[in-house]
């Protein structure tokens, strides 16, 4: 009935989280940045998994929300002082969710292949919007000169200028997203979207207004993606239209498939593994002149994943959550953990 991760998955998740948390203790700036990117994309991939793996909507334009969030933060941030996270985060989530609702209201009307193409086209529309206009630097991109802080009155509690703080904040966000999505999937709403994925027509016949549920799922997914964009913009403080581009969207899909679609845990593994491979592919000592053309390695990697890894890493590692057979059975006290 509900999405219950098996204990090996939770154990591995804990190992990944601890490993990432320790990076600032042992690693250099570069390692911290890579680890933070891994966390960012883990959040992004989870947001995609809600659509792909649990609602049955293949979005090929999800980076639009990732990038939009980054842009919103840049535009909202004052030029010479730090923006307060307590204000900026709700604004970023709100703007992204709002745009997600507008676009979603249109794209959710379509299905299958149309959905793929239309999500891509809308993302591209937003890409050109930022690329052609002079808002936030146009095609050149723009900087967030002073990183956001979390402040109460005059006291600064969290300062993203410190890379380790940013990483830990991102990690906390990732774990929170994981927990929230599991809660969501176990809720009546979660049951409905999973039903829609398997047989939408039957869900309609059972009396569900499937359009509304798909739209809400789309908006939630956009809001989660905005968290990833928010943190990403703080890593280097630099944003550009490419963040909304179709390549980012494609990479997100690749991470979900690599880790295992419909497992929620898999996309975390997929994001970490994908960025890990990307780092290796840029290592000149390892790949020689191809380091300048590392996308060729990533292309081969993506193709290999599609052809060889049907269930994703999480499936192979036994990390896939299982669908509990029976709602009555799950009422056994202590019978499940989130």
């Amino acid at each position: 009935m509900t999405v219950v991760p098996r204990w090996p998955a939770l154990l591995l998740l804990a190992a990944v989280a601890i490993g990432l948390a320790l990076v600032p203790v042992f690693g250099e700036t570069y390692a911290i940045k890579v680890a933070t990117r891994m966390i960012v994309f883990a959040i992004f991939a989870m947001s995609l998994d809600l659509l792909l793996g649990y609602t049955g909507l293949v979005s090929f334009g999800h980076a639009a929300f990732f990038g939009l969030a980054a842009y919103t933060l840049q535009i909202y941030s004052p030029e010479y002082e730090a923006v307060n996270i307590a204000l900026a985060l709700p604004v970023v989530i709100g703007v992204t969710a709002f745009v997600g609702a507008l676009i979603g209201a249109l794209v959710v009307r379509t299905s299958g292949i149309y959905f793929i193409m239309v999500t891509l086209a809308f993302a591209q529309m937003m890409f050109y919007f930022f690329h052609d206009s002079q808002i936030a630097g146009g095609s050149d991109g723009a900087y967030i000169w002073v990183k956001p802080v979390l402040a109460v009155g005059e006291t600064i509690l969290i300062d993203f200028e410190d890379r380790a703080t940013l990483l830990w904040f991102a990690l906390g966000l990732m774990l929170a997203v994981y927990g929230l999505l599991i809660m969501l999937l176990r809720s009546p709403f979660g049951q409905v979207i999973q039903g829609i994925k398997v047989n939408e027509h039957r869900m309609r016949a059972l009396g569900y207004d499937t359009y509304r549920y798909k739209l809400v799922s789309y908006v939630i997914s956009a809001a989660v993606a905005s968290l990833a964009g928010f943190v990403y913009a703080c890593i280097d403080g630099y944003i550009s239209p490419e963040l909304l581009g179709w390549k980012e969207s494609g990479i997100g899909l690749a991470m979900v498939i690599l880790g295992g679609m419909g497992t929620l845990f898999g996309p975390i593994v997929g994001a970490v593994a994908f960025i890990g491979v990307e780092e290796l592919a840029r290592e000149r000592e390892l790949v020689g002149f191809l380091a300048d053309h590392f996308q060729i390695i990533m292309g081969c990697f993506v193709i290999a994943v599609v052809l060889m890894l049907r269930n994703g890493l999480a499936g192979s590692l036994g990390g896939a959550p299982r669908a509990k057979p029976d709602p009555v059975e799950t009422e056994v006290p202590g019978g499940e953990k989130p």
Partner: protein
């Protein structure tokens, strides 16, 4: 007789040049099992699809308790209390039987836009689902993945899902096809039990079952209603005899 629960007035459906259903005017009442019979291609399933909102009619009107539902989408028709089962098994194959029925039962929550508490904490839904799966005689398969149970059991699952939505009107499209004799007897008994408080519209080919449950028979041929009447009237009807039943049936 009381006002009909469900009524069609001159309902037609054509696909391109093909007239699947032509000018059908029928009344359906609570406390009565209406069986629609006719050869393959007579338009019986199309008629059910029109009543359930799966297809919009090309012409004519459909009313539920006097309210026009002609152009209503299927989910709203379902919420009004008109439920259907499918001729071609239409389930959630990768879920367990219980989860299939659960989704049907949960559809009667006021709204499923509930995001926080786990679904299985809903005792009302659980009770509804269990009663439905029990009525359909499928309790022993509750925890089995639906794709792996026998064809006959999947047919029972169809019925269980329909019952779990607690409809007033049951549109049953060949529910018995593929069931064994024991299950058939079970479902026939169930229909007879439900009819006191429900309006049942049944499409069926199994003539023994038809005469065991039918209060009224409607014979469809080539998309039109040939005749409507009690089973005895239909048995005696010369028109029906010539057009459809022939000698093989009775």
């Amino acid at each position: 007789m009381s006002d009909p629960v469900l009524a069609t007035r001159g309902v037609s459906k054509s696909f391109g040049g093909l007239h699947a259903v032509r000018d059908v005017t029928l009344d359906f009442h609570t406390g009565q099992v209406d069986v629609v019979i006719g050869p393959n291609g007579a338009g019986k399933t199309t008629l059910i699809n029109l009543l359930s909102g799966d297809l919009p009619p090309s012409a004519g009107r459909i009313a539920f308790r006097g309210r026009d539902i002609t152009t209503m989408p299927p989910h709203r028709i379902s919420q009004l209390g008109i439920g259907r089962s499918y001729q071609r098994t239409n389930i959630f194959p990768e879920f367990t039987c219980m989860r299939n029925v659960w989704l049907a039962a949960q559809s009667r929550m006021r709204s499923s836009m509930r995001f926080i508490r786990p679904a299985h904490h809903r005792k009302d839904v659980a009770a509804r689902a269990e009663r439905a799966i029990d009525l359909a005689g499928l309790s022993h398969r509750a925890d089995t993945v639906a794709a792996t149970v026998s064809h006959g059991e999947q047919r029972q699952l169809e019925v269980a899902m329909l019952l779990a939505t607690e409809p007033e009107v049951l549109l049953l499209d060949e529910p018995l096809a593929g069931m064994g004799p024991e299950e058939t007897a079970n479902i026939v008994a169930l229909i007879n039990r439900l009819k006191a408080t429900h309006c049942v519209v049944l499409i069926e080919h199994d003539m023994d079952a038809v005469f065991a449950v039918a209060d009224r028979l409607t014979v469809m041929v080539n998309g039109t209603v040939l005749e409507t009447g009690t089973p005895d009237q239909i048995r005696e009807s010369q028109t029906v005899r010539e057009a459809y039943l022939g000698d093989e049936m009775i």
